[in-house]
């Protein structure tokens, strides 16, 4: 899966999504959950971008804003050159054909009272594509494409296992031949062996239907396997954005390093060898994110500046962006070339580019 086209299919521009917390009889807004807080990035046609982070980091909210299941509080989403951030339901409808979503829980995302055929053909019916006969034929083809059999047309969701249900969800998402599919944790509810089947299927379908994926997951192994580029999110911000392999070999942001080192490796010797960075405590509340760098209270390299100055998202070359005052694995020469990325959130202090390279650290996975 490599980025083929040049023009971005979708551009996310300074996107913010705040959820108000209301109290009292007058339902006055007393606080806001900063679910997504000024995020910018672009996804090229044919590319897979992975969004990773712990629960509450805003990755699902971001995914939902991209397909406009949620309306952004500020900022914009540009799809094929067209701004869709503020479009109403009616103007959005034709665009819905181009972007679809696959959900996490295959038990909750299919209507138990509808037959599989109806579930998969509903998008076609709503968009008035073909007559009844043609739709049936298309659905049968889709079912085959996702590894089910056309005879499943008249069955109900409860007759299927979790993995099969997720295939139905994928068939439904593909019914309108979308360009973009946002997959929100599509494999995390499945057993390991079924997970692998599902990942292989999603990769095959990407070639067959020329899809662009935004792949949201908390499992770094899965994300690395499917993604071309990966964005690491923490408390509503993108902390690091990088080509997939580079992120795993040379993480710049300490949070990425810690995340990678926490992934259990099914190899006892390697597991003993490597250094585990156990992060203290939990993710702070997104209602009042910490001052300065949002990761500083849990960071093992944090110094005074980290709690005071919000670091900008800096460009380290090769499309590798990171927001950190003490960047890891960077030499002086690279640091001299570093510039503030256009994707950097507006609130950050753009004069605060890192001056000193942080530590040279061992590979967070293999420990070598």
């Amino acid at each position: 899966m490599s980025g083929k086209g040049n023009a971005p299919l979708i551009e996310v521009k300074n996107l913010k999504k705040y959820f108000p917390i209301r109290k009292g009889v007058l339902q006055r807004e007393v606080a806001r959950v900063h679910a997504v807080d000024d995020v910018s990035f672009a996804v090229n046609e044919g590319e897979t971008i992975g969004l990773v982070g712990e629960s509450g980091c805003g990755k699902s909210t971001l995914g939902r804003c991209i397909v406009r299941l949620l309306e952004p509080t500020e900022g914009d989403v540009v799809f094929q050159g067209r701004s869709i951030g503020k479009l109403g339901a009616r103007s959005l409808r034709p665009l819905r054909r181009q972007m679809q979503m696959v959900f996490q829980d295959p038990y909750a995302s299919l209507n138990p009272r509808k037959r599989v055929g109806t579930i998969v053909s509903d998008p076609l019916r709503i968009h008035r594509i073909g007559d009844r006969k043609e739709r049936k034929k298309q659905v049968e083809e889709l079912l085959e494409a996702v590894g089910l059999s056309p005879e499943h047309y008249n069955r109900f969701p409860h007759e299927f296992s979790g993995g099969q249900r997720q295939r139905i969800g994928v068939a439904r998402a593909l019914a309108l031949r979308p360009k973009l599919v946002v997959a929100d944790e599509p494999v995390s509810a499945l057993d390991v062996s079924i997970q692998a089947q599902m990942i292989n299927l999603l990769e095959e379908l990407q070639d067959e239907f020329s899809l662009t994926y935004v792949f949201i997951a908390h499992d770094l192994g899965v994300v690395r396997h499917v993604s071309d580029r990966i964005a690491v999110m923490y408390l509503g911000r993108i902390m690091e954005l990088s080509p997939a392999e580079e992120l795993y070999e040379r993480p710049i942001m300490p949070y990425t390093e810690a995340l990678l080192s926490a992934v259990p490796i099914p190899d006892p010797d390697l597991s003993d060898q490597r250094e585990r960075i156990v992060l203290e405590g939990d993710v702070p509340s997104p209602i009042n994110p910490p001052s300065g760098c949002r990761f500083h209270p849990r960071c093992r390299y944090a110094t005074e500046i980290c709690s005071q100055v919000d670091p900008p998202l800096a460009d380290y070359g090769n499309g590798h962006l990171a927001a950190c005052h003490h960047p890891l694995n960077v030499d002086k020469a690279t640091l001299a070339r570093v510039t503030v990325s256009a994707a950097s959130p507006a609130e950050t202090d753009e004069t605060a580019l890192p001056e000193e390279p942080g530590k040279e650290v061992s590979h967070p996975v293999t420990g070598s």
Partner: protein, 341 residues
């Protein structure tokens, strides 16, 4: 290894349903010694949780049938009357469940729930029990325990709730701690904290741990012995290193191949196991893994027994292939080359 604590002998558990008998556990055998961490690995429906719950008498119901024995310090827990089992459960064998959100009662304070566990099993006063609770919360890493003891579960994060559950499980200093998918609902950074905690507390409290999980990565870290279950049976079992570096059962290979590995160069297709686990009401004849096994041959129509076939004497498996054949075929299967062919 320390003293023998537990011996499970030919355990079978069946649930009678309208559609037939669900053979959830079918002939499971293992032993557990003090100081040991036994990892039970398998997918949903493999019988790993039913095995654990049966040991504590949590599957007793009018439609359940049992066979075999669960011998704990010389007594058979399966035959033990409920009244006496209550003294063992929570006191000598404690359990932590998967979902820390639902295993604490939301309307009682966290501390009171732990105090209750102590008062149930031990003849101590309320004040002593409370002091011990604060101390336990401190040991499992809850910050500011003397205040947090009065919090309600909703005031705790997921990781803290799981820590509180561990504190409760350890409150009576149990010999055996059963952890059923203790980290599945948690983020990877919190998972690392909890696994480290369980491993360290096992030494502090001088107990044995049964760690049930679907994640081979988690057991690679802390287990000494591993049991791989499939369709209610043990298909492979042995010391950790032997299981990881000399796996003998094609199902174990499939599991190892299904995980996208961070420690290896990014590959192409993942080695998935074809098909789905069988229905436990209608199990296939012979080897239960036969319909999904890429190496099945004539002999697999007969079920292989679980026995030692390799040099490592404690390593047992349930597969008819010869050891040499397995060592030849293994790498390709784990890499998923069969899938492409």
């Amino acid at each position: 290894m320390g003293e023998r604590l537990l011996e499970v002998k030919d355990l079978k558990v069946g649930f009678t349903t309208e559609d037939g008998i669900v053979r959830a556990v079918d002939g499971v055998e293992f032993e557990l010694d003090r100081g040991q961490v036994l990892g039970i690995v398998g997918e949903s429906g493999s019988g790993k949780s039913v095995t654990a719950m049966t040991m504590l008498g949590l599957t007793r119901a009018h439609n359940t049938s049992f066979e075999g024995q669960v011998v704990y310090k010389g007594q058979d827990l399966l035959a033990m009357p409920e009244r006496r089992l209550r003294d063992v459960r929570g006191n000598e064998i404690a359990m932590i469940f998967q979902d820390p959100m639902t295993s604490l009662n939301p309307v009682y304070r966290v501390g009171d729930q732990i105090v209750e566990a102590i008062l149930t099993h031990e003849d101590v006063g309320k004040r002593t029990a409370r002091q011990r609770t604060v101390e336990l919360l401190r040991r499992v890493g809850i910050p500011n325990p003397s205040q947090r003891v009065d919090d309600y579960p909703h005031q705790f994060s997921g990781g803290m709730r799981q820590r509180a559950m561990i504190a409760m499980a350890l409150s009576c200093n149990p010999d055996i701690l059963i952890a059923d998918e203790p980290t599945t609902a948690l983020d990877v950074t919190i998972q690392a904290q909890i696994i480290e905690l369980i491993d360290q507390l096992k030494d502090d409290f001088n107990s044995a741990v049964i760690l049930i999980t679907h994640d081979l990565g988690v057991v690679a870290d802390v287990a000494n012995e591993i049991l791989v279950m499939y369709a209610g049976r043990v298909v492979e079992r042995g010391p950790k290193r032997s299981i990881f570096y000399d796996p003998q059962h094609p199902y174990t290979w499939g599991l190892l191949g299904s995980i996208p590995r961070l420690d290896r160069p990014k590959g192409g297709r993942l080695a998935s196991i074809r098909g789905m686990p069988p229905s436990l009401i209608n199990l296939p004849h012979g080897c239960k893994f036969r319909p999904r096994c890429p190496h099945a041959f004539d002999r697999c129509i007969e079920e292989p027994d679980l026995r030692n076939r390799v040099e490592e004497r404690r390593h047992l498996d349930r597969c008819w292939l010869s050891v040499d054949e397995k060592r030849d075929l293994r790498e390709a299967t784990i890499k998923g080359e069969e899938a492409a062919a």
